[in-house]
């Protein structure tokens, strides 16, 4: 009855108060400080010639310290809240709310938009994962980016990334979630394109951004549809009704304790009133939709409403609504799935993630392991109650995830670039997590956690490997760091690093074990839970064995490509080298004296330490959090599952989750182990002997199709890029040929008219004015001649005038 108690707490508007805002403010402060340093750096000598070897100033390196401290502080604060405040609460009441920010921001119609934060077990897991892995990755990045002159900008965005992701997981409602969602997208854009002088990075950043936008549109539509649906379940469209709920259950111990009664006393708890209507808040939405499952509701007449108006549980009405002939819940969920697919790089939006490798390696680790791509999975978990309404939508998600997992695993097998292998691996593993939504349980989140550890370990190890190989390849006069910006080494240039990087090698090996699904490491446990969830999925419209089969094949491929990459990186000798394995001095390239021997052998302790820590995490996270039920005598629920159960309790529709029979579970585990071992053996046979040529570019048409990501890029080009470019070209043509010409014509006509007016002005108007003045001057000059100064003449003229006047008067007067 965890679900019941969960609802009883979430029906009460207030959880326990906690300073959740602190988790957002700390990384934000770090981002601001680093941003200030970045501004200071950008203001420095803009036109100065670039020095041959740029040494970042001490202040620039300070950015790394600030960023690391900020994220570690965030992690510590988050851990303190989770372990200090959340865990001591009884399981059914584990909900923290932030007193800051829960006030209403604005109200549109009946929708109250607030920036409230809350932390339930799901958010707690995500917070610990994001800030914990984030802290390790930051630590790694501070060392890794040590020589990059632009590192303040890097760390500003890295911190902002963490802040946005925390907002995403902590927000109680679609408004803060969407802010975090977009913040993560923006930061990923800036970080993928961090080396903005490299066209590939800029292209990848733009691609990631645009593909994400397309998904975001779908997400917005889905959310809008959901809210619209809720708006129509009130008493009247847009009106908020009140749902009265009475419990006929015996009071659980939790509420009994708080009310001072003994446990197990059957009683009628006071009726709870749940507002029904449009809302953006997750907890309110969940109350409205999920309450019918948890507590039998009583339909009542809202206060002040006409006699014939009642409020119904939203679930009942939403299930009846249709949009364009399809069930509303189906359409909304599929749209939300598309949004999540955009962020989590699933078919049809999977192509941006492999390209995102153009960013610095710590960014790849952060995006892939802890943040961003897991946002889609988190969204499914958060809105599980919505998906429970629509088996069709769940089927879409599961099929999409399974296809992505299979296709991406195939693509990963044929990549020639180490980081691209890992990128496709991420896409593939995310496919697993999507498939895990089938059960409506916590297995997807479990896989998020384990995957976070082993994928971060793999990526950071890859960063170490790339550095080592670059130093080996470019020991001669390569510019300082930041030039990872140039082409990454392909896998054929790897090899023989086992001796140079012993610690990294073991961490990588362990992470590969986890990725492949060996029971010794964590991936096995989460994958096992996913298999079980699919096998027992209550509302899947496709055959579960089919999905399971596809996932098993994926597991086989996963083991293959994981160990392929491992063998290419570490086993054998350096590529095309004549020396023996493990001897870094025996490179084929001539090494300048004193050049890179020190480099190659100096596996940075900090980097290796972080990778090792993650490797250990990859090893223990799975058994610790998800020790299988059938491995214990008491059939105990795995730790993480138990912790998350209240969150997922309302997600199962009318059908309660099926307990996995032990026999089935044993079978699934055996199968998972079997395909993993098989994949390992195949990889060992194919690549263990280091036939370097087999890593050559894929030759067959099918492998090339797979290596290219299943033709998605081609599809984008045909369906989106080309039409858009053609449209742009057509618009440019119209602009240049028609609009510009019209504008030019108008301008030319204006000029002509102006010229004519000028002529008229100059010659006619000015002529008249000048003529008048010239006439006056001339007349004056003539008249001035009378003013001779000769008195006699004046007299004569006077007399003549008088005489003339007399004559005139004489002749003309009558």
């Amino acid at each position: 009855m965890h679900g019941l108690t969960y609802f009883s707490t979430s029906l009460t508007p207030r959880g326990t108060e906690a300073a959740l805002w602190l988790l957002l403010v700390l990384p934000l402060l770090g981002a601001l400080a680093c941003g200030a340093l970045a501004l200071r750096a950008s203001g420095r000598a803009p036109g100065a010639p670039k020095p041959a070897v740029y040494r970042p100033a001490a202040l620039d390196r300070l950015a790394g310290v600030i960023a690391v401290v900020a994220v570690i502080a965030t992690f510590l604060a988050g851990a303190a809240m989770v372990f200090g405040q959340l865990l001591p609460l009884p399981p059914g009441e584990r909900l923290l709310r932030s007193p800051v920010g829960s006030a209403s921001l604005f109200t549109i119609g009946g929708i109250r938009a607030s920036f409230g934060l809350f932390m339930d077990p799901l958010a707690a897991v995500m917070v610990l994962l994001v800030s914990g892995l984030g802290a390790l990755i930051h630590l790694y990045a501070a060392r890794y980016m040590r020589d990059d002159p632009a590192q303040p900008r890097f760390f500003a965005f890295l911190n902002l990334f963490v802040a946005a992701m925390l907002l995403l997981v902590l927000g109680d409602g679609l408004l803060p979630l969407f802010f975090g969602w977009e913040g993560v997208g923006v930061c990923s854009y800036f970080l993928i394109g961090f080396w903005h002088r490299k066209p590939a990075a800029v292209g990848a950043a733009t691609k990631a951004f645009i593909v994400n936008r397309v998904g975001d549109v779908a997400l917005l539509l889905g959310v809008g549809l959901t809210v619209w649906g809720l708006a129509n379940v009130g008493t009247r469209p847009g009106e908020i009704g009140v749902l009265q709920v009475e419990s006929r259950e015996s009071a659980p111990s939790v509420s009994a304790r708080t009310s001072g009664e003994g446990p197990g006393v059957a009683r009628r708890r006071p009726a709870r009133r749940i507002p029904v209507g449009p809302t953006l808040s997750f907890s309110e939405m969940r109350d409205e939709i999920g309450v019918e499952i948890a507590l039998p509701p009583t339909v009542v007449r809202p206060a002040g409403a006409p006699a014939d108006v009642h409020a119904y549980p939203a679930r009942t009405l939403i299930a009846r609504m249709t949009v364009a002939g399809l069930p509303l819940s189906f359409v909304a969920c599929v749209l939300i799935f598309l949004g999540a697919a955009g962020k989590s790089a699933q078919i049809p939006f999977s192509a941006w993630l492999p390209d995102a490798m153009a960013g610095p390696t710590p960014v790849s680790a952060l995006i892939h392991a802890a943040t961003m791509v897991t946002a889609g999975v988190y969204l499914f978990a958060r809105l599980g109650f919505l998906f429970a309404l629509s088996p069709g939508a769940v089927t879409v998600v599961v099929v999409g995830g399974t296809l992505t997992a299979l296709g991406a695993a195939g693509a990963a097998l044929f990549q020639s670039d180490l980081k691209r292998v890992l990128a496709y691996s991420t896409v593939s593993q995310l496919g697993y997590m999507f498939a895990a939504t089938a059960g409506g349980g916590s297995s997807g989140i479990f896989h998020v956690v384990t995957h976070g550890f082993f994928k971060a370990a793999l990526f950071l190890a890859a960063g170490v490997i790339i550095h080592a190989v670059e130093e080996r390849l470019h020991a001669r006069g390569r510019e300082a760091a930041g030039d990872e910006a140039q082409d990454l080494p392909t896998m054929r240039e790897l090899g023989g690093l086992a001796g140079a990087l012993p610690w990294t090698r073991w961490a990588y090996f362990v992470a590969c074990l986890a990725l492949a699904g060996f029971p010794i490491a964590s991936g096995f446990y989460s994958k096992d839970q996913i298999f079980a969830a699919v096998a027992t999925a209550p509302n899947l419209l496709v055959s579960p064995p089919l999905v399971l089969g596809a996932l098993a094949v994926t597991s086989f491929l996963t083991a293959c490509y994981a160990f392929r990459s491992y063998y290419f990186a570490f086993s054998g000798t350096a590529a095309r080298a004549s020396g023996t394995a493990g001897e870094p001095a025996s490179r084929s390239e001539p090494v300048p004296p004193g050049g890179s021997t020190a480099h190659a052998s100096s596996e940075s302790r900090l980097l290796a330490g972080v990778v090792l820590a993650l490797g250990v995490g990859a090893l223990v996270a799975g058994p610790l959090l998800g020790w299988p039920r059938n491995w214990t005598a008491s059939h105990a629920t795995p730790a993480l599952d138990a912790f998350l159960e209240p969150v997922f309790a309302g997600n199962f529709g009318a059908v309660p989750p099926v307990e996995v029979p032990p026999a089935l579970e044993w079978g699934l585990q055996a199968a998972g182990l079997g395909v993993a071992v098989l994949g390992f053996l195949v990889a060992r046979r194919l690549y263990g002997r280091r036939a370097a040529a087999t890593a050559a570019a894929p030759s067959g048409a099918f492998t090339r199709f797979l290596a290219g990501g299943g033709g998605l890029d081609t599809a984008y080009r045909l369906l989106a890029v080309r039409p858009v470019l053609a449209l742009a070209r057509a618009m440019a043509w119209v602009d240049q040929r028609i609009i510009d010409r019209a504008v030019d014509g108008v301008a030319a006509a204006g000029v002509a008219v102006a010229r004519f007016t000028g002529l008229f002005d100059r010659h006619v108007v000015d002529g008249a004015v000048n003529g008048a003045s010239a006439g006056v001057v001339a007349a004056g000059r003539q008249a001035a001649r009378l003013q001779s100064g000769r008195l006699n003449l004046y007299i004569v003229l006077l007399a003549a005038g008088v005489a003339g006047t007399v004559v005139l008067v004489y002749f003309f007067s009558s």
Binding site: Q787, L791, V796
Partner: protein, 111 residues
């Protein structure tokens, strides 16, 4: 204007006065117009004034017989005296400035 006048010249009538006045006026005007000496011009002005005064008296006498004309003549004489005084002062002043009383040289205001 023809009252009291006969066609003959035997009797002294209005016509004689008018003719005399006209002659006087003409002489005065001619003097004013032609002489360059400022004092001579003043003398010409006196002729003109007296021609006018003569006309006043003649017309008054032959008109209605009252003494209006004579009164005007007296005024004219007084005015002429005043005018002469002022004018001679001006001439004196001009002489001081120009060391001459030739009116053709008094053209410095022209420009």
């Amino acid at each position: 204007m023809t009252g009291g006048t006969s066609g003959s010249l035997a009797v002294i009538g209005l016509r004689h006065f008018v003719v005399l006045s006209a002659v006087l006026f003409t002489l005065g005007l001619t003097t004013v117009a032609t002489r360059r000496n400022a004092v001579a011009i003043l003398m010409g002005i006196e002729l003109i004034l007296n021609a006018a005064a003569l006309n006043f008296v003649a017309f008054a006498h032959y008109g209605h017989g009252a003494i209006t004309g004579q009164v005007f003549a007296v005024f004219v004489v007084v005015l002429a005296a005043a005018e002469a005084a002022v004018a001679l002062a001006i001439v004196l002043s001009v002489y001081r400035s120009f060391r001459a009383i030739d009116v053709t040289r008094l053209d410095t205001l022209k420009d």
